[in-house]
């Protein structure tokens, strides 16, 4: 059974009760069909109510669910003949970012994504999905290769952040991310970015400058993790829940702010309940994005990215008399 989260506990309790009644009925031969039916109706209502009224913090929990599908899971559903390609040709191979080539329907594509582990062993190998500079430089190498062969780039974003470590600083974590932002801005092929889990800060954005940016319904995307925000803003990392609610980090929030193009609805309870169905929903969005973007010329693609990002931000002007100085 899929691991239940705290906000789902009433659902779990009710499911347990129904199961108990059923086995009691079987054992004792007493007819409890009416009671069971009524409880099942209650369960269905409770599920609808719970999953349609998820708080930002509930979504953060779903985004971090250990069984939530990862980049490689989606790749296996979405891209035929996928070949993973390794290394940045400069320093090393960073398994926190995976990338490669494959077919999306009849279209050759380059796919890049942050990759966390699906168990402790894999998490150690993949550094918990927190890339070093060589990960970002591998991503850039593959994007440039995609540009050479005129294939669109699809980026799947899922990271707690770029790795904060000594070696990462020595090898230019800042430069690696910054370089990607500038190069992605000018890439002559369509870039479609999808936040599939956690989208933390520059670490996520390092593969996140796209013509279209989408988010799964229960993913989050923010300038900083809720824990980081809480410790900076209130010097108290236990206020992460409050930070999650006030920072506007969920897909519905970012859709409203005009930061993302599409929110991709998740299957009931979250993507981990049915990865295959979730992949189909992602497939449909990639399909429609590609149809739209493949019509644009190289110059139009770059121009579209320029206008998209140029419009982000809120500011106002004051009269000279009010302004200081």
């Amino acid at each position: 059974m899929v691991g239940e989260l705290e906000f789902e506990r009433p659902i779990t309790e009710l499911k347990k009760k129904i199961a108990e009644l059923k086995s009691f009925m079987d054992e004792k031969g007493i007819d409890l069909t009416d009671e069971i039916t009524s409880l099942e109706e209650r369960l269905s209502a409770l599920q609808n109510d719970t999953y349609e009224n998820m708080s930002a913090w509930d979504r953060v929990q779903v985004a971090r669910h250990p069984e939530r599908p990862t980049t490689l899971d989606y790749i296996s559903y979405l891209f035929k003949d996928f070949i993973e390609l390794h290394g940045d040709r400069l320093y090393g191979e960073d398994e926190a970012i995976v990338g490669g080539i494959g077919m999306f329907h009849d279209q050759p594509v380059t796919v890049i994504g942050q990759q966390r582990g699906r168990d402790t062993k894999e998490n150690i190998r993949r550094n918990f999905g927190m890339p070093h500079p060589e990960g970002y430089r591998k991503a850039l190498r593959l994007m440039k290769q995609a540009e050479k062969f005129s294939r669109p780039v699809i980026c799947l974003m899922d990271t707690k952040g770029a790795f904060p470590g000594k070696s990462a600083e020595e090898r230019g974590q800042s430069e690696a991310i910054a370089r990607n932002l500038v190069e992605m801005a000018g890439l002559h092929v369509p870039i479609i970015c999808i936040v599939i889990g956690e989208g933390a800060s520059g670490g996520a954005l390092g593969i996140g400058v796209g013509n279209h940016v989408h988010m799964l319904e229960n993913s989050w995307y923010s300038v900083i993790s809720p824990e980081g925000a809480a410790s900076i803003l209130w010097k108290d990392s236990t206020k992460a829940k409050l930070a999650a609610e006030s920072m506007k980090i969920t897909a519905p929030d970012l859709k409203e702010l005009g930061i993302i193009d599409e929110m991709i609805p998740e299957v009931k309870g979250g993507a981990h309940h049915d990865p295959e169905e979730q992949a189909k929903r992602i497939e449909a969005v990639i399909q429609s994005s590609l149809e739209e973007l493949m019509n644009l010329s190289e110059e139009e693609l770059v121009e579209q990215r320029y206008e998209k990002y140029k419009n982000m931000g809120e500011f106002t002007f004051v009269n000279d008399s009010i302004a200081v100085k």
């Binding site: 974590q173 800042s174 932002l181 500038v182 000018g186 800060s201 980090i249 320029y306 002007f317």
Partner: protein
């Protein structure tokens, strides 16, 4: 026990963030926070806010910096009256902005405009760490982007002096998007064959370090400036190992191939002039 003691002591000894609070010294005499040398404030200012004894570089305000670089009377400011809104309705944010406006006498954490440096025309942006730690929100991103657009239109070099703690938390995702916004503008500027010089000053960290600050055609820095992606404390907690004394300083970055040159403040104007001169023939 002993190890703990040293670990604690080290934290206070290396990062000069505390000194930031000194800002521009007031009063007749000033004591250097680094070497405790006492000097006349007037002399210190005349010396470009560099300690005569140990060469500690005091933080400079945007206008002090501009004054130290550009030809007199040549600076025309852009977008001076652009101010932040409160897009996430963050409690207390507007009050904090107002208080920083009063304190610093500038409207946001960056001042932009055009000027000449020894008769070489440039568009220049200078961040100011006194305003919300120089953090980048919508206004900082927009002012820098507009300045780059002016440089594109006028076919001028773009020079930025960075001083920033990173993204502005109170504007959430909009702050993060300023990294992308300034990048699309810089890409267009670069594609026109125009020159971009980044000069990192103390401190240049987080989202500013991970965007425009690091992608100059030339990446320069002032001596001892703190430059890095992640905070030292976060790194120490993550990797649980001792960090070198000079970790994330300009000198550390130079040693690791991340900088073209560390330039003392006294040589800044001359060095920039030389770079501009070398580039000016190309487009004539």
């Amino acid at each position: 026990m002993l190890k703990d003691f040293f670990a604690k002591k080290k934290k206070y000894a290396t990062i000069p963030t505390e000194k930031m609070k000194h800002d521009v010294p007031e009063g007749l005499m000033t004591k250097c926070p680094e070497c405790k040398h006492i000097m006349y404030t007037k002399e210190l200012k005349k010396n470009l806010l560099v300690c005569q004894s140990c060469h500690y570089h005091y933080p400079m305000s945007s206008f002090e910096r501009i004054g130290s670089l550009v030809d007199e009377g040549s600076f025309t400011e852009y977008d001076r009256n652009m101010i932040s809104e409160n897009p996430l309705e963050f409690p207390g944010y507007l009050e904090k902005l107002e208080s920083d406006r009063m304190k610093t006498k500038i409207n946001e954490a960056v001042v932009t405009g055009d000027a000449t440096i020894n008769e070489n025309p440039v568009v220049i942006a200078v961040m100011d760490s006194r305003f919300r730690m120089g953090s980048m929100g919508s206004v900082v991103g927009e002012k820098i982007t507009r300045a780059i657009e002016q440089a594109i239109e006028k076919e001028l070099p773009f020079i930025i002096f960075t001083a920033s703690g990173g993204a502005r938390m109170q504007e959430g995702i909009l702050s993060l998007m300023q990294m992308a916004k300034t990048s699309v503008a810089l890409k267009r500027h670069s594609d026109r064959g125009l020159l971009f010089i980044s000069v990192m000053t103390h401190p240049t960290t987080g989202g500013v370090s991970a965007s425009f600050a690091s992608v100059g055609d030339y990446n320069f820095a002032e001596p001892k400036a703190l430059i890095g992606f992640a905070g030292r404390r976060v790194i120490e907690q993550t990797i649980r190992e001792d960090l070198p004394e000079d970790f994330q300083t300009a000198e550390f970055l130079l040693k690791h191939g991340q900088l073209d040159k560390v330039i003392p403040r006294h040589e800044m104007k001359e060095t920039l002039t030389n770079v501009l001169k070398i580039h000016s023939g190309r487009r004539a």
